[in-house]
Amino acid sequence: MLSNKSKLSAVGLLVAGLSPLMIAGMAYGDSSNNYGPFPVTVKGYEGSATNSVSYSGQIARHVLHDSLKKLASAGDGGSNAEAAEAEMMAYFAGSDKNKAIISPASKDDYQIKQTLMNSLSKGKKLSNKSYKGVVNGWPGQMTGPEVLEFMIKKAAMTKGGFDTSTGYNYPQLISKFAMGAVFYNQAVDNYLDEKLAADNKPNSKPYKDGKHYTGKEHVWDEAFGYWGAAAHTLNLSAKESYEVAKKKNFAVSDANGDGLIDLKSEMTFAHAYYASSFDKGGKTNYLHTVTQAFLDGRKLITAANGEALTDSERAKLVAYADVIGENWERVIAESTFKYAGSVYKDITKMEEMLAAGEDVSKTFAKYSKHWGELKGFSMALQTGKHNLGETAVKLNRLIGFGPVLLNASQVTGIDSNGDYLKDEALSWGEYKLHMLKVQKLMIDKFSVVARSKDQTANMEALADKLGDSDSAEND
């Protein structure tokens, strides 16, 4: 017979022994909810691969983007401009060298598995995958890659990425636009569009000769990679996915329990992160809706077992793609909505401070940062599958080419040397009205629901409190 003390010790040992397994098990959750692994279905494949999922090239581009954003604030005001530009271009337009991963990087006990770009994928770049159309939201009638390169050059000449004379915050402009111009555009206007056609990358053939995945499997995986969700996202809450991106919750991030975060499958990037940021508020479910549609689509392709997809299977796949495209677009619209609200609030704050004779330089920097995010997201919104037409025109005109500056001027264009032209701007009041109209446009055209930083929310709350005005009663 064991004594009570011995019994307690035995239970303690058992619990201690099982804990790592339990934690790993908890983190993993239901593996059928994971995006992969999926079996190899390519007919005639003779290699050793057992998992047909592959989107490391897309993860490499997420990392290039994150690193580029960090580097965009590396300028010291001019003296290191050449070197800063060259370094940024190495991440934007590619490099022969095996460049270091600048972000996401390890911190304290939050260890990331990969530290060099080639450990993700070799020879990847952002420039050749950027939106090829003309970017109307930015002066100069440039294409997507041209705009990004232009911004990189300008960023290199600033101190910390912030140009006080124009109010441009380049890390934000570059990052928010690139997320749309590369990830969103490539996914919804390429992989989930023409590449879903029957004769384009068919499921009955390998993606390329010798590859262990079919055409459709890889097309779908690449689109998923650009979305930026961790493979085990459906086992996590929106809040947990958000914490994964913020490197704040190692336990849920490390899905396989190996003590390292694998960027290829255990990190939340880009728009998946923004989706989680809205969803954790409880009003929306973008992250899981999109990720579930990706998973369901992948299961459908896998179930075809290397045969060409039938018309009805492809129709289902297109329906999943529509869900993905619509919700992804709304995530960008929600972001545009949010930052229009932030810009409104910042202007109000500056007006108050100026009236009180206070120094507004810090608030102006914050305003410029939020404006950069607003501008970047609004430009990103226009890089999707559909031409937004009048909505895009309105959006670009309401926001303008630059933030309204303290001296009531605003960037209105660029000259033949690539220098900015400025002219008289709207009043603060009118510009704030433009921000309200941007928010209304996002509601009317994209049915945004999360509505973070809603500048008319207080009015709606008051209207609710006052009750219906439609009472047909005599007093």
Binding site: W428, K432, L436, M459, S469, N474
Partner: protein, 339 residues
């Protein structure tokens, strides 16, 4: 299930503290009526009971038509209200306009004490609501087209709390627009000037001032319990008996006491009349209690006929005036030619 939803939508005002016929307010009004009849009118409890629940009132032709109109109008409202301009639509337009004008910086007064802002908003909303009710009510009496509609309410010869719903649907639309306008204006101006500090002091989710009026027996305005206030108080607040006088057919009482909660507006704009004993009043438009004056045809269709007749008559007058004007011009032209 849809039937249950529909049914609960129709009768939801009885459980909504924002509405005057909320059962809580009705019970309090009954209590006040008992106090008044026992302490002031010296009736016994039994007498007071039968006075309050007088079947001659609640089963009168007038009241029975009130009940039908209540249900029909609630159905109308369910269908019409989604089509009406909301307070938020008006608030948004004004809010945008204020930014456009840019006379003050938005949130210019946001540093004011929150307590004062909330207090000010609560009082402002109430005052604006009450004064606009006064003027709309006044116009309802003064303008023939509007009177054709408002007459439906005044055709009641017995008053019960449900008489407030004895309202022509077109009049209901006018009331809704007034409500949307006052709420939209108050909300937008206050949020523009005071930012996110704006709030409403409420009890059970209702503006505290409106709530106070409702628990003070606002349902008795439309009842046969003629509670009168002190003379001086009737300059400030409308007593139930003052409103009952508003429903009187006596010529001396015509176009008096338009106020909803405050008598101040009547006093200021010359339409105040102190209360009299309700027993001396005959209520209605012409005093008739016949079947036809309470028929649904009279209440819903007849006003439309009157409006059309009135408009045609006006157009005829306009046509004659234009013809006469044309003849005068023609004559002058001939006179000039002859010269």
């Amino acid at each position: 299930m849809w039937f249950l939803d529909f049914f609960s939508n129709i009768f939801e005002h009885f459980s909504d503290p924002k509405k005057r016929i909320f059962l809580g307010y009705i019970f309090i009004s009954i209590g006040i009526a008992f106090f008044w009849l026992i302490l002031q009118k010296k009736l016994s409890l039994r007498q007071a009971f039968w006075k309050i629940f007088d079947k001659k009132v609640f089963f009168s032709k007038s009241s029975k038509s009130d009940y039908s109109v209540f249900v029909i109008n609630r159905i109308f409202t369910l269908f019409i209200s989604p089509l009406l301009l909301t307070q938020m639509a008006i608030a948004t337009i004004i809010f945008h306009l204020l930014h456009k004008i840019d006379l003050f910086n938005a949130s210019v007064f946001s540093n004011f004490s929150k307590v004062w802002i909330v207090l000010l908003f609560t009082v402002f909303v109430f005052i604006l609501d009450d004064i606009t009710k006064y003027f709309v009510h006044r116009w309802m009496h003064k303008w023939p087209i509007l009177w054709s509609l408002h007459k439906v309410h005044h055709s009641a010869t017995k008053l019960t709390p449900l008489t407030i719903y004895r309202t022509h649907p077109l009049e209901g639309i006018v009331f809704s627009l007034r409500g949307a306008f006052t709420q939209g204006t108050s909300i937008s101006i206050f949020v523009y000037l005071f930012g996110n500090s704006v709030d409403l002091i409420t009890i059970l989710g209702v503006n505290i001032i409106v709530f106070t009026f409702n628990i003070a027996g606002s349902n008795l305005r439309h009842s046969h319990i003629g509670i009168r206030y002190w003379n001086w108080l009737e300059y400030i607040f409308i007593s139930p008996a003052q409103h009952q006088l508003h429903h009187s057919i006596a010529e001396a009482h015509h176009d008096k006491n338009f106020g909803a909660s405050l008598a101040l507006w009547d006093w200021l704009f010359g339409s105040l009349h102190h209360s009299t004993d309700i027993e001396s009043l005959t209520l209605g438009v012409d005093g008739s209690e016949n079947e036809r004056s309470h028929s649904l045809h009279t209440l819903y269709i007849k006003p439309l006929g009157e409006i059309i007749f009135y408009s045609v008559e006006k157009l005829k007058i306009l046509k004659i005036s234009i013809c006469q004007f044309g003849i005068r011009i023609q004559n002058k032209f001939y006179a000039l030619v002859k010269q």
